[in-house]
């Protein structure tokens, strides 16, 4: 949860002031300034903070909500647009896959109140399962995509996107990337606009996509794209920065800043809109330079379009198609193109740095769940969340992870394939289960799959930094809300074997799991302990290791707990262990594993 959210909504800063803002905060400000009334999203790195920032604006100005998934959020925004208000939704790139169904049809329908979609890509895969390029969705859906390069543009482009949306009767993308979303730069603020009041427009031929209507709308969509293409050649969103005419660089978004860093005086066509491409402007620019180089992250969308236009250009010959760009990578590409000397960096430090992979927190309730899955030797279909970290040492007990909600249906398929001799368990977090786990659970029950579904309920959307969801009993703005009862829910769906287990009780956890996998058909185990970080940081009395009796078997190290490391002392050639009292929250899992009973609560250990 952001600091601003904890403080509650405050009076928004006035126009004309300049503030350092992240790209995400600037997009949120743009939404507010555009006079949008409804915003919905499902959290996803790097987009999460957009809705959190919006929730810091007054509730009287804008309704901001967490939705159960990206498609639901998109549909909420579409509904608000139908009703005549400006509407907004934000998502990460893979969220667009979920929302795409609604988007594709809504592109045919067009807007009443302007509708803007912020989609945040994650080149370099900092915290995702792939690095797809969302600009291709814009091309696919025939909608414009705006690509800001810094915080100021993030605000202004978002505001402009609403105007474009209403003028051209279509949803509009604002595309960010992790780097823009999480970079702070100075942003000068504007005033909140009051868009013309609209109400629902009775027009079934536009609003109801039956085949007869959709056939007519398809033509409208293509004509709209042609009009946009022409108009964008004169739009200030796209601009030529004249320079040395021997080479012209076409670029957009964050890569533009890398180009300017490397070659400040080169001719640049900075595209603020990367679909549809402004044909006329591009042809004019390319005619005025001897050689055209395209610098774009991920897919060669611009490059391919230029080649289709018959314009000779180079791009992916010099720049990678995968991974996040950096000033170094752009420098290397420009050097390969012969535009600047190669980098020389004689760093004296040649050692390989120590590995420090992310780990589950001290006291994380997921740990015992995966210890138990290892102990019953299960084939584990995993899902998206903090618990995906269980794939690595030392827990090493997750076998697959595909996309949000995949685990349960993946398990159904494994069971139906009939090749697996181990018990099949699907693990899914509470937020992911609500996002897209319920239809596949119904599928499993309906088709009588012999699987166990392990719902890891830590009462929060943890991976993205602690967001509320329908299972937490609170809304995005912190107001109380009805709380989903997972136990009653799965019972109602028709599961006959359901048990709740305590994530801090390894013995009962293993016993319940053994019973669950022995049950023929769908069984559901729900682990029940809150995340130790959010919504409140949990800190109980720490455990301590009795250095006299520790036999250095290091069984506790198998938890991968960051509070447990090697002590100075030795036993038969191995380090004894110690517990950092600051990090330990007292979950006692290590004490339950300790064969020599050397781990006790610190206050008791002192008395002995």
């Amino acid at each position: 949860m952001t600091h601003a959210l904890r403080q509650g909504a405050t009076e928004p800063l006035g126009a004309g002031q300049s503030r350092p803002m992240t790209g995400n905060e600037a997009i949120a400000r743009g939404v507010w300034e555009a006079g949008a009334r409804v915003a919905a999203a499902y959290p996803g790195t790097p987009s999460t903070e957009i809705l959190e920032s919006l929730a810091a604006y007054p509730a009287a100005d804008i309704h901001a909500q967490w939705s159960t998934n990206e498609k639901t959020a998109m549909d909420v925004a579409i509904g608000a647009s139908f009703a005549g208000t400006r509407a907004f939704t934000a998502m990460k790139h893979v969220g667009m896959n979920v929302a795409a169904d609604a988007l594709m049809s809504f592109s045919y329908i067009g807007v009443n109140g302007g509708l803007v979609v912020a989609v945040c890509d994650d080149p370099g895969i900092h915290s995702s399962q792939n690095e797809q390029d969302s600009r291709i969705y814009a091309r696919f859906a025939h909608v414009p995509v705006l690509e800001p390069s810094d915080g100021q543009e993030a605000l202004e482009f978002t505001r402009t996107a609403f105007d474009l949306s209403e003028e051209y009767d279509c949803p509009v993308f604002v595309r960010s990337t992790t780097r823009l979303s999480h970079t702070r730069s100075a942003v000068t603020l504007g005033a909140r606009q009051t868009p013309a009041a609209r109400v629902f427009e009775d027009n079934p031929r536009k609003n109801v996509m039956i085949p007869a209507h959709a056939r007519m709308r398809h033509g409208h969509v293509l004509a709209r794209e042609a009009r946009l293409r022409e108009a964008l050649s004169d739009s200030p969103l796209n601009r030529v920065e004249p320079g040395d005419a021997r080479v012209g660089i076409i670029t957009s978004g964050i890569p533009y800043t890398y180009v300017k860093e490397c070659l400040p005086d080169v001719s640049v066509l900075k595209l603020g809109v990367t679909w549809p491409l402004p044909d006329r402007l591009i042809r004019e620019f390319c005619a005025g330079v001897e050689r055209v180089i395209v610098v774009e992250e991920l897919e060669p969308l611009i490059e391919d379009a230029l080649k289709a236009m018959g314009i000779a250009c180079e791009g992916k010959a010099f720049f990678p198609r995968e991974g996040e760009f950096s000033p170094e990578i752009v420098h290397d590409g420009l050097a390969k193109a012969g535009l600047m000397p190669a980098r020389v960096h004689a760093a004296p430090f040649e050692f390989a740095p120590m590995v420090r992979p992310p780990v589950l927190c001290a006291g994380c309730p997921h740990v015992a769940c995966f210890m138990a899955l290892g102990a019953i030797d299960a084939r584990v279909a995993g899902d998206i969340g903090c618990y995906t970290l269980a794939v690595v040492e030392p827990l090493k007990s997750m076998d697959t992870c595909v996309s949000m909600g995949s685990s349960i249906a993946n398990a159904v398929g494994m069971a139906k394939a009939g090749t697996e001799t181990r018990p099949i368990v699907a693990t899914i977090g509470d937020s992911t289960f609500l996002h897209s786990g319920i239809p596949p659970l119904i599928d499993a029950i309906y088709n009588d799959a012999d699987i166990t579904v392990f719902i890891l309920d830590n009462h929060i959307t943890a991976m993205t930094g602690g967001q509320d969801h329908p299972g937490t009993g609170r809304t995005l703005r912190g107001d109380p809300a009805p709380r989903v009862d997972f136990f009653a829910l799965v019972k109602a769906l028709g599961v006959r074997w359901v048990q709740k287990v305590d994530s801090y009780d390894t013995a009962s956890m293993q016993r319940q799991l053994r019973e669950a996998v022995a049950h023929k058909g769908v069984s559901v185990v729900i682990s029940d302990r809150p995340c130790v970080l959010d919504p409140v940081r949990i800190k109980g009395p720490a455990m301590a290791v009795d250095q006299d009796s520790c036999i250095a078997c290091q069984a506790c190290m198998n938890l991968g707990c960051p509070a447990i490391t090697w002590a100075e002392g030795w036993h038969e050639g191995r380090h004894k262990v110690q517990i950092d009292p600051e990090a330990c929250i007292g979950c006692s899992l290590c004490a339950q594993l300790c064969a020599s009973h050397s781990i006790k609560p610190a206050d008791i250990a002192e008395q002995v």
Binding site: P353, M354, M557, W570, R574
Partner: protein
Amino acid sequence: MDKRNRTTNVLIVGVGGQGVIMVSKVLAQLCQEAGHDVKQSEVHGMAKRGGGVFSHVRFGPKVWSPTIPEGEVDILVALEWAEGLRWIRHLKPETGTFIADCQKIVPPFACRSRKRGAEPAYAPQTPEEIIDQVHAGYVMDATGLAANLGNARAANTVLLGALSTALDFPEAAWAQVIAATVPPKSVGINARAFTEGRAWALGGTKRIDVTASGLQKSRAEVHHPQVETVVEITADWCKGCDICVKSCPERCLRLNDQLKAELALPELCTGCQLCSWLCPDMAISVTNTPVQEAAS
């Protein structure tokens, strides 16, 4: 090039929860108030999970790239020793300044080896060999200084004090921004932490104080006598409950055809004795006998 016309690059690194973002926010705010164009870039996501955290702060008349190119870092501020070493290649070779807390945060990943005599796989480099190779370097006990003032968590402000000696902003401006950034209750201790850090770093361009961290610990001492491990399993007492097989960290035990435990992979056995401790029937005994080295 004139220093005022180019971009100054400060890279702040550490481990999640140490206050890397607080340090970079203070610096970014200070730069903006001084009229510079500023960009501050970090990556969220896995940071909370004990992984490394980094934040780029760039300022000058006009800043383009949000991230600092490799080899262009003017000042590297490390809140943790090994994280400093991870990024030290990014330091400008001729003129870069390295400021590090000697604080060690050993990750569980560094304690994975079960071999006899294994030491944590923590960065083995000593402060002396690193400082020798940089233009200016400070390895300080920031956490210790902060703890002496009453709160070890103010270590990041001690480092801000050291950082202030390498940049041209008035001391009062630093103090003002820090006071406006930290929680109201901790304004006093942060002010003292800043002053202590600044005073320490003013004592020379290369200083090391690692008394508290154990970074200079002698590695000569041998703690790992050669031992011969013998695992004896009394088959008559074993009822095949499987506890030893499931709990063996090396998975070197198994149940044989008669459902009795046996040591299947003796070469993997580390002699940890966990099986003998956990066996409910006391059917397993593990003895580790030191071996005298004949040659010496």
